[in-house]
């Protein structure tokens, strides 16, 4: 039974909480550390940095990822940058301001103390990564450069061309490689976690499948850390990598971990629009482009088919600048995305199907010249050119919102531990820090904060009481869970129906995009909740998964992930329906201000919704636990970017 949800936020003034907590946290002595085996699932920014740092501290770490190398984790694809409160630009930035922007950007649906800590350690991340050799952009004087991102009026984003995620991940990967060579970390690439094992209520192991050989194996540890990223692929089309999944966190949920705010998804405003049925993924154009690009659509529907260069300035609607004069093109993501949907719904969208808006660099090019723009965004313009065969130096880019990030994730306390003792969750996989909308350049910050500077301090609070309690994989719980995993794999292969995996995934994705996407309402969500269980039934009757279990079988991998999405989608819709307010990226059409902005209901919904698994389907609903959010340092306001 789960009692009252405790965030375990330490007492004291906001700016002293983390320091006090560190002072009061338990320690594991160096000679005891090597007695602990820590299982880290995921090798992205969060998992990679955590595994490397824990290894460095002397723990024995086993790290798992599904790709063939830890360097390929999806963090590699992040483009734009990472925030920190260095105030190198002398433009008035501070830890408090970064904290405030992040919590306001999240529409006041995150835990104050966590967000403050994140802002506080942000500066250490920049120091750490620079020392590792991350080649951040520099000015001619040799000092680090910054740029601006949405939702902020200061310039605090550090970047490495348009490949910031790649460079930060390679930094973490190299640190990880060093530990692998030293023998503190053992790496298991191409090994997918398929279930979590609890012994006496504590997370003590995982069951995995080796994706090359198909071997199913149990691993025991003293603690389990999930760093498995986000679940945006539940929508079928998203900017996530093909393999991104909900399996690890969803399986943990089914074993009793609470899932926090599953409906909070981020739809990113600047992605390359959908071109056709064949498409397998969408591509982001970094938000940093909004520093210099101006977003517009024609004022009149008749002009939409004209080439953009033939539409005079007077006939263009720079709608973000018009609606949000003080933030303009740098309005936060949820707001910019909804504004794009709105103008397209009005019939003023451009490109195929009228689902696109222009992102125009003509003004910036004439102000700064083409070379400056090339230096800032060259690789993004190249990506755009490769995909669309259009030259954005000559003609404006066409962009449209796409699913990008999931703020929801497993519920964790201030120590980043879930309600299951021993199960820690870091990075995009947890629910913390970003509330109902994440600001740009803050996911990289959170992943690395969790891995380098938070978990290494908070994990001992759990471990200190656990010496000698690691079970062996011969324990009956391991045998039981392992047999369940085997049975599920077998069942997937045995259906042998007539429908492809793609067809199920696409159908689910379209349904969610329609009913639980940029705008949601009670009727639509109820409809989705009727349809999802039927689709799931059909999946288990009609799907065809070719091949065998004991070999390299990509269809089987995908089948397991899609099967989990088909259950998880229901949880998202239940959460979206229950949260009868609008906040951040969760826009319930029933709740809007007169000018169409998200209308929060702080009285009833200033809380985290954490769901406990009870069973799936129309009859059994998960149980809701609420963690009320208390705000001491900030004043809850209607977010305004006008």
């Amino acid at each position: 039974m789960i009692g009252k949800l405790e965030g375990k936020v330490p007492p004291g003034p906001l700016e002293q909480k983390w320091r006090n907590h560190k002072n009061n946290s338990r320690l594991v002595s160096p000679n005891n550390r090597r007695k602990f085996e820590i299982i880290v699932v995921g090798s992205g920014l969060a998992g990679g940095s955590a595994a490397a740092t824990l290894g460095e501290l002397g723990y024995r770490v086993k790290c798992f990822c599904y790709q063939d190398s830890p360097r390929r984790a999806h963090s590699i694809a992040a483009q734009g940058g990472i925030n920190a409160a260095k105030n190198y630009q002398n433009d008035g930035d501070s830890v408090f301001r970064l904290f405030y922007d992040t919590i306001k950007g999240g529409d006041f649906r995150s835990r104050e103390a966590n967000v403050y800590r994140l802002a506080e350690v942000s500066n250490l991340i920049i120091d750490q990564c620079t020392e590792q050799g991350v080649p951040f952009a520099r000015e001619y004087g040799g000092l680090l450069a910054n740029r601006s991102f949405g939702g902020a009026q200061v310039s605090r984003t550090f970047y490495a061309r348009g490949q910031t995620g790649q460079q930060l991940l390679l930094g973490a990967y190299q640190a990880l490689c060093r530990q692998i060579a030293l023998g503190t970390v053992k790496m298991f690439p191409q090994t997918e976690m398929l279930d979590l094992v609890l012994v006496d209520g504590h997370a003590k192991g995982v069951i995995t499948r080796n994706l090359c050989t198909g071997q199913i194996q149990a691993f025991a540890g003293d603690a389990v850390v999930l760093a498995t990223g986000g679940y945006g692929n539940v929508f079928f089309l998203s900017t996530n990598a093909r393999g991104c999944n909900v399996t690890a966190t969803y399986r943990a949920y089914k074993r009793g971990a609470l899932f926090g705010n599953p409906c909070f998804t981020q739809i990113h405003p600047t992605c390359i629009p959908v071109t056709g049925h064949h498409q397998s993924k969408l591509t982001l154009m970094s938000e940093s482009l909004r520093n210099d690009g101006r977003v517009w659509v024609p004022k009149r529907t008749e002009d939409c088919a004209k080439p953009p260069n033939e539409i005079p300035d007077a006939d263009r609607d720079y709608y973000l600048e018009r609606k949000y004069p003080s933030f303009g093109n740098l309005a936060p993501r949820d707001i910019a995305s909804r504004a794009a949907k709105e103008v397209c719904d009005e019939g003023r969208g451009v490109g195929p199907g009228g689902r696109g808006v222009y992102l125009d660099f003509a003004d910036a090019i004439s102000r700064l010249n083409e070379d400056t723009i090339r230096e800032r965004y060259g690789n993004l313009f190249d990506i755009y050119q490769k995909i669309t065969a259009e030259d954005a130096y000559k003609t404006p880019m066409r962009i449209y919102p796409a699913v990008h990030y999931t703020m929801g994730g497993l519920w964790v306390d201030y120590n980043l531990m879930s309600n299951i003792p021993g199960l820690h969750v870091i990075g995009e996989a947890n629910f913390s820090d970003h509330g109902a909308n994440r600001l740009g350049a803050s996911a990289l910050m959170q992943g690395l904060a969790d891995g380098y500077f938070v978990l290494p301090y908070t994990l001992p609070n759990y471990l200190a009481g656990q010496i000698g309690k690691r079970p062996s994989t011969d324990h009956e719980e391991f045998k039981l869970v392992e047999s369940e995993v085997r049975a599920r794999v077998k069942k997937l292969l045995e259906v042998n129906g007539e429908r492809t995996l793609t067809s199920f995934h696409r159908e689910l994705g379209l349904l969610l995009w329609d009913k639980c996407g940029m705008a949601r309402n009670a009727t639509g969500l109820r409809e989705a909740l009727e349809k999802i269980p039927d689709l799931r039934d059909e999946f288990w009757k009609k799907v065809r998964v070719p091949g065998e279990g004991e070999s390299y079988n990509q269809s089987l991998e995908r089948a397991g992930r899609i099967a989990d999405f088909l259950e998880f989608a229901e949880l998202m819709c239940i959460d979206a329906l229950e949260r009868d307010e609008s906040c951040g990226g969760h826009f319930r059409e029933e709740h809007q201000t007169p000018d169409g902005e998200a209308q929060r209901d702080d009285e009833n919904f200033a809380a985290v919704f954490a769901w406990e698994f009870q069973g799936n389907g129309k009859v059994e609903r998960p149980k809701l636990h609420r963690e009320p959010l208390h705000f001491e340092a900030v004043h809850l306001t209607q977010r305004s970017y006008k």
Partner: protein
């Protein structure tokens, strides 16, 4: 558009592989090469044939997972681009396209078009890092880095670890990959303390994995999706010579 595909099929490392022929029909020109394979795979599944195994993840040219030799060229005919950034509009309608895995001895085959590139990870493990313990880094702006060096560092650091360089090289040399990492870290002051040891160990590991020597054919540079310049190989050679010299004077 319609294409005939000539695809390498091999169940595992031990079995014998061979080419098999498939049709890709009604493909929209904006379909990516990998999406075209997805479509073929769905059709194979519907016909109860085993789909073609191939690796991919980001599908935007940054993770380095995709590794296909298309019509004899690593990553296909469009440069610089990874296989996932190739679109069918680059091919003539009705043509036959040959698809094979990256072939190099240090990359054992897993299945069909999937190979094992862990040799590249082991080269990095040998020394491709800066030992910087979390918590002990100095203030980031306390060590200014000339912009020129920082720019060179990121040019080298852009390597996506795909292994195309070794696959394209007649000697299966991984020099470009290794040179990129050695150069990236050598251009930065933070990389200086481990400079000698790093290059020595990485080159030794490269040899131990069975990668061949560089004979300056520059096939690597031609196929590299990250546009890593072969001039970094010269940098690697200088770094290596410097390390040998330092060792020989008794350091």
């Amino acid at each position: 558009m319609n294409f005939q595909l000539n695809v390498w099929r091999q169940a595992n490392a031990k079995s014998k592989g061979k080419f098999a022929t498939y049709e890709a029909r009604n493909i929209a020109p904006d379909t990516s090469f990998l999406e075209m394979l997805d479509i073929v795979n769905d059709e194979l599944t519907e016909r109860s044939e085993a789909p073609i195994a191939f690796d991919s993840d980001c599908r935007e040219g940054i993770c380095g997972a995709c590794a296909l030799t298309i019509n004899g060229q690593a990553h296909g005919p469009k440069h610089p681009a990874a296989a996932c950034q190739l679109y069918m509009r680059s091919f003539d309608d009705g043509k036959t396209i040959t698809v094979e895995p990256f072939r190099a001895k240090p990359f054992p085959l897993v299945r069909d078009l999937v190979i094992d590139r862990s040799a590249l990870d082991r080269i990095v493990q040998a020394g491709g890092f800066i030992a910087a313990r979390a918590g002990s880094a100095p203030e980031a702006n306390s060590i200014p880095v000339p912009k020129h060096n920082a720019d060179l560092a990121i040019e080298a650091a852009a390597c996506i670890g795909c292994g195309a360089c070794a696959a394209a090289c007649p000697n299966a040399s991984a020099m470009l990959f290794t040179a990129a990492k050695v150069s990236h870290l050598a251009f930065l002051p933070q990389g200086a303390p481990e400079r000698t040891l790093r290059v020595t160990k990485m080159v030794r590991q490269m040899d131990a994995e069975g990668f061949g020597n560089c004979t300056n054919t520059y096939e690597c540079e031609a196929v590299c999706p990250a546009e890593i310049s072969a001039s970094f190989i010269a940098k690697l050679n200088r770094e290596y010579a410097r390390a040998v010299l330092q060792r020989s004077v008794g350091e």
